[in-house]
Symmetry: C2
Subunit: 336 residues, 2 copies
């Protein structure tokens, strides 16, 4: 699929979906739409991802199949300044994909334009309407299932999932990420936003996801939230049990000690956190934490090296910062 990514005034730092698409997506990105950086190229700011021109509006985008909204503002609302580009994409018969809380399908103009011009609206946060309770059959999947878990939200679970996938692919293993959030879904083109599923069906949604890929030998399930999170632990649990993993990779931000946004709640000591994940996994799949992923983006190189070593010691398994150091053999070996 050939796509353009909408990222007005946000590329690259506040356009997580856009960057993810460029770094990990199977789509060809033919343009990034950002009126602030128009005229430059992706390679000027992000040298290690697929390159594309940055343009001011859909008028400068070559032929594409889909326009992906690559920005997730806090609150997830649609910004009216994006309307002309979405309108133009629909008038060209493209699909418009969005992970915003505001659904494109609730916008009368977009619905009308899509119908008139043969375009389509794909709201990535909208779960399928035929979900059911889990049957407890996720463990029957032939592939090795590895689920990324974390000590908090935003600890690099999605990034670790894609980096592990790419490392496995480099070794010739058929690997796929099982996306459970809108960014991962925008990157891969499939998945279910589990936090939008009614809680009765959340594990069932994940079970369906791990049973979907036909030809993968390694499935890396993108986790969400954390088991000790006062608000999101239910989502985490549903993914942990719904994916019935063979192994877990625990993701952490170096130095973080309290839950982000919930600072009165301490993050449990790392070795206890490993135990908590394993004890919760035990009744369903018996998965153990076999590797760690540490986000060291706030540290310098020396500090990062020490932090990764300390993290590996604390959790008793190999660890890496996959963004800084890639996925070393000992980490990939641990999950296989």
């Amino acid at each position: 699929m050939q796509v353009a990514v909408l990222a007005h005034e946000s590329f690259p730092d506040r356009a997580k979906t856009a960057v993810g698409l460029l770094r990990y997506g199977d789509h060809e990105v033919r343009a990034v739409v950002d009126r602030e950086r128009a005229g430059s190229r992706v390679a000027d700011v992000l040298p290690d991802v697929q390159d594309a021109p940055i343009v001011a509006s859909m008028a400068d985008v070559p032929e594409i199949d889909a326009l992906v909204v690559g920005i997730s503002p806090i609150g997830g609302q649609f910004d009216e300044s994006w309307r002309p580009d979405v309108r133009a994409a629909l008038e060209r018969g493209c699909t418009v994909m969005s992970g915003l809380h505001d659904f494109l399908e609730d916008d009368e103009e977009f619905v009308r334009l899509a119908a008139e011009h043969g375009g389509a609206l794909d709201d990535l946060r909208k779960p399928p309407d035929d979900l059911t309770v889990a049957e407890g059959t996720a463990g029957d999947v032939d592939a090795t299932v590895v689920t990324t878990v974390g000590t908090d939200c935003s600890t690099g679970k999605m990034t670790a999932s894609f980096e592990l996938r790419d490392a496995a692919r480099e070794r010739g293993i058929e690997a796929a990420v099982v996306p459970t959030g809108q960014t991962g879904i925008a990157i891969t083109g499939w998945g279910i936003v589990v936090d939008r599923v009614i809680s009765d069906y959340a594990a069932g949604a994940v079970e369906r996801l791990v049973q979907t890929p036909a030809d993968a030998d390694l499935l890396i399930v993108e986790g969400q939230g954390s088991l000790a999170h006062p608000a999101y632990s239910g989502v985490t649990t549903s993914i942990l049990h719904g994916s019935a993993p063979d192994a877990l990779v625990m993701c952490h931000n170096a130095g973080q000690e309290v839950v982000h946004g919930y600072e009165s709640f301490a993050i449990p000591p790392l070795s206890e956190y490993v135990d908590l994940y394993e004890q919760m996994a035990a009744p369903v799949s018996g998965a153990e934490v076999v590797a760690g992923s540490l986000n060291t983006s706030k540290l310098d190189a020396d500090e990062a090296e020490t932090a990764v070593t300390d993290y590996a010691d604390a959790i008793g398994v190999p660890a890496t910062d996959p963004v800084r150091d890639g996925v070393p053999d000992e980490v990939l070996d641990a999950i296989l």
Copy 2:
């Protein structure tokens, strides 16, 4: 409020809501509607709950404020044979309350009749539309918060909650049940069906519930599912963390060893299960399992006595079968 309870061909054994309303509700039940048992009285089959006549249809029901659907068939669908009674209730200007999966509000005739006659439709499974993520503030509630948890679904969590409430009230304590399922909601007239809430907001829904009652000194939160359940553990976790309890009461069916409907999954050993609940509670509220509730309905009196003793030994805290033996002082003392 004066109510009638619809329980066609199901009273009492397959009409859990109807029996719960009669046993624990604050409403006056003026009639049970069951065409199969019409002419007899509740006291003929259930001597220990509030009595009411059993009638064949709404035509024989005296003046009421609401008709409550007291049956929860598997699948939760509306049975067309109930339509004449719902219609008659709406034509009399009554509220009709239902915990079915099929929403009354999606039925055009019912909507029209309610509008025409000043009746109302109350779908108990429909969550409020202004829920949000939890803020992590449930622990600030002044009341003592006790959450019932279980080794599986249907282990008596709702019943234990109401029995604990009644025992506390007998001791002069202002106690209230915080209902999280449709039966508890039908009994008390308030609550949120947490399993219908999107998983992102499930803990937030429970947090809102425990912050609602103004004048209770003891809140007993009705738990759902179980932490080791392959399908429902996410709901359980959301209630465990969203209620931020001071103490837990663990409910179990005597002799049950595997998860009902998921028989390839063993129920963990009881003492390990206690540890699992306490380890999961630790990061948010530090609650411990302080008492046990055992369902011994399949045992004779001698077996039951032994089973309760064994259960208390296994979990290391006082236990009772609250239906058979009530709530002894040592159990009530343990939760206060």
